[in-house]
């Protein structure tokens, strides 16, 4: 099996070099060495939150989102073309209780002889659509519950992804990736050579000039090493090998934006379903699964009204495998169900600032919580446009 991984890696690297023209870094003086004209586009995004809750301890405790005044995240993003062949993006972020970390740092091809883009580095991986979003680009203050549960909080790994534009009458992108397989919830294979594989198929149709439908499916498979993590209360038997984690997902996105005065009105309906199954020591378990569905309505040039419903179910065998970010004691011998209903009013005066007022009702294992969150989202500098 390790040989297959090795050869897959080799083939991808070969393709990359074929498209970009292999070059060895040299010490030759570059003609553009110290010119400031080639500085990357640099931007910094800040998310400041104020949160109130009716409980002493929040049920669902995402990092950087707690009662009181906090900065949720500060993220610096740099983008530039490396040379004729490659573009690079680096996003460094820091949350209030975490150190500065690399959210993304990857290079992608600018020109290939076939309709293919290759990305290599640490990146938000193409599982569904929501996982590709940075926190400041999300419509709501926090990530959907099911993505937090399964990926805790993102699937962003050192990886190689290739996206091939299929020759079909509609937009259809076939994406395949090899991930390092170190997501703490899902993977961490027992041997260093273990990697995870990702496949995503993205399709978009223009129903009319103003309506689009986007449908996609994702599958991720990797290996989880044995023995299990130390915090497992009921350790699994070490059979000397790996067990598989398989996650599949489906996403749908319906969008309306009028051509005429499209800045004033728009409507988006978006949903994703994720199903994560971990083969525990050869024994199949019930999956951790859930979904979210959200609606965004723009009723004025600067105002949006939004609603989201989240739901997930976690089987009791997986409580310790998928711990975060639940913050209350519950019966470990029972499955845990959670749901959240959110309403949000967003005031977006310019592309570079947004004010959100969000209400959450959270129900976890029968316990309820009401949250109110106010958020200021600002961006300074040259920030690249966001994808559709």
């Amino acid at each position: 099996m390790a040989k297959i991984y090795f050869y897959s890696f080799f083939v991808v690297i070969f393709l990359w070099c074929f498209g970009t023209g292999y070059s060895q870094m040299t010490t030759d003086a570059a003609a553009t060495g110290i010119s400031r004209a080639f500085n990357p586009a640099i931007s910094v995004n800040c998310l400041f939150d104020a949160m109130g809750t009716n409980r002493n301890d929040v049920l669902w405790s995402e990092i950087g989102l707690e009662p009181g005044l906090h900065y949720q995240e500060i993220c610096m993003e740099m983008t530039a073309n490396v040379d004729v062949y490659l573009q690079s993006k680096v996003a460094l972020s820091v949350e209030e209780k975490t150190d500065l970390g690399v959210e993304e740092a990857y290079a992608s091809t600018l020109r290939m002889p076939i309709p293919l883009i290759l990305r290599m580095g640490k990146m938000l991986n193409t599982f569904g659509r929501h996982n590709l979003l940075h926190l400041h680009h999300m419509a709501f203050v926090e990530r959907p519950m099911i993505l937090e549960q399964v990926f805790g909080p993102d699937l962003n790994e050192m990886s190689i992804e290739g996206a091939y534009l299929l020759p079909l009458p509609w937009y259809s992108d076939a994406i395949a990736g090899i991930l390092n397989g170190d997501n703490p919830n899902l993977f961490e294979g027992s041997s260093k050579g273990d990697v995870a594989f990702l496949a995503h198929w993205d399709n978009l149709w223009d129903v009319t000039d103003e309506w689009t439908v986007r449908i996609g499916g994702s599958y991720l498979r990797g290996e989880r090493g044995l023995p299990p993590p130390e915090n497992m209360q009921q350790p699994l038997t070490n059979n000397g090998g790996n067990v598989h984690s398989g996650v599949w997902g489906a996403n749908i996105h319906l969008k309306w934006k009028p051509l005429h005065r499209g800045r004033y009105h728009s409507f988006t309906l978006q949903g994703e379903y994720v199903n994560a199954k971990v083969n525990m020591n050869g024994n199949s378990t019930e999956p951790l699964h859930g979904f979210f569905i959200q609606m965004l309505g723009q009723f004025n040039i600067r105002w949006f009204i939004q609603a989201r419903y989240d739901w997930f179910n976690r089987p009791q065998e997986l409580h310790l495998l998928f711990p975060a970010p639940i913050n209350f004691s519950f019966n470990p011998s029972e499955d845990l169900q959670g749901q959240r209903l959110s309403f949000c009013l967003a005031f977006v005066p310019t592309e570079f600032s947004a004010y959100r007022l969000q209400y959450n009702y959270i129900d976890l294992g029968g316990q309820g919580e009401n949250q109110i969150i106010a958020q200021l989202n600002i961006t300074i500098g040259s920030h690249p446009a966001h994808k559709y």
Binding site: L110, P113, I117, L165, Y171, D202, L204, R263, Y388
Partner: protein, 314 residues
């Protein structure tokens, strides 16, 4: 044997017709309908032109829909306005299209603003520029096709590029360019003669958009209803603009068909000025279906509204 010869001859003819006669047209994608219209005039039957934005769309605020990438993926040539008009969406489309013919720096990538000399670009900010000044274009106002003299230059620029990419049809492109230039020169003379009545007029615009048109016709812009480019007016700013209109005796308030005319109408109603709604691009309103009709519509509408106001005053 005879049957085989007939069959082979027919097969050869079919292949020859299929490959020889059906020479591929140049696939051209433009970002604006005005650029598409000029390209159609120059390219004629030798090009297939697709405009990413429609006339009714404000090209500043287009979303990078993946379906646009599909069109760009097949393109031989991309023609765009430049001056950062499409900065918010075109880079994403180019990258997503995965077509090395149209990436920046490739032969099939044409920034039409490069047809204009540096001094021909209006409203290029001098000194400090930052976002507290609103949606300013650091490279200058990108709506240069509102002046038909610039249409001339852009047409020549596009013709040069079509000849470079498809030298077999050089004579076709040159002839079409000559026809276009002749027709446009005649129309420019007519428009300039008709629009003499507007020379020296002062107007107020909702947004900084019409500078090339107004500059060409000798019309002064006394102020803008927007507080800053892209930022709606505050009540105080609106009062100041109303005062300005009254003090200067301004008779026309101009707004683009892309914008909600509510605020402009309130200002016009309160001051007695005429509200002029103009198509921001080719095909943005009925009667502006191509580049000639668009400029014609703009000139006629301004004259008509000015005359209408004078008649009311008399």
């Amino acid at each position: 044997m005879k049957k085989q010869i007939i069959f082979m001859t027919l097969l050869f003819l079919i292949i020859a017709i299929g490959t020889g006669k059906a020479a591929k047209k140049l696939d051209v994608v433009t970002t604006l309908p005005s650029l598409a219209s000029i390209t159609e005039n120059i390219g004629g039957d030798q090009v297939k032109v697709y405009s990413i934005t429609r006339g009714v769309q404000d090209a500043h605020y287009v979303e990078a829909k993946p379906s646009y990438m599909l069109n760009l993926n097949k393109a031989d040539l991309l023609i765009y306005s430049g001056l950062e008009l499409e900065i918010g969406w075109l880079p994403l489309l180019i990258q997503g299209a995965r077509n090395q013919k149209v990436v920046v720096g490739a032969r099939g990538n044409l920034n039409a603003s490069l047809a204009l000399p540096e001094q021909g670009i209006l409203e290029k900010p001098r000194g400090e520029v930052d976002r507290s000044m609103g949606d300013v274009h650091p490279a200058g106002n990108p709506h240069y096709l509102l002046n038909p003299h610039n249409g001339f230059k852009v047409a020549e620029f596009i013709a040069d590029k079509l000849i470079e990419l498809d030298p077999d049809h050089q004579s076709v492109y040159e002839n079409n360019l000559e026809t276009f230039k002749k027709a446009l020169s005649e129309k420019i003379k007519q428009w300039e003669t008709k629009a003499k009545v507007l020379n020296g007029l002062e107007v107020v615009c909702y947004h900084v958009h019409w500078s090339y048109l107004l500059d060409w016709l000798g019309i002064q812009q006394a102020g803008y209803i927007e507080l800053r480019p892209g930022i709606p007016p505050t009540p105080r700013h609106k009062r100041e603009i109303i005062e300005l209109i009254k003090q200067h005796g301004i008779k026309l308030v101009i707004v683009s068909s892309w914008k909600d005319p509510k605020k402009s109408k309130e200002v016009a109603d309160e001051t007695g000025a005429e509200l002029v709604i103009l198509p921001g691009e080719v095909n943005a309103m009925d009667g502006s279906e191509d580049y000639f009709l668009w400029i014609n519509y703009l000139v006629n509408q301004l004259i008509e509204k000015w005359n209408s106001h004078r008649e009311k005053s008399d």
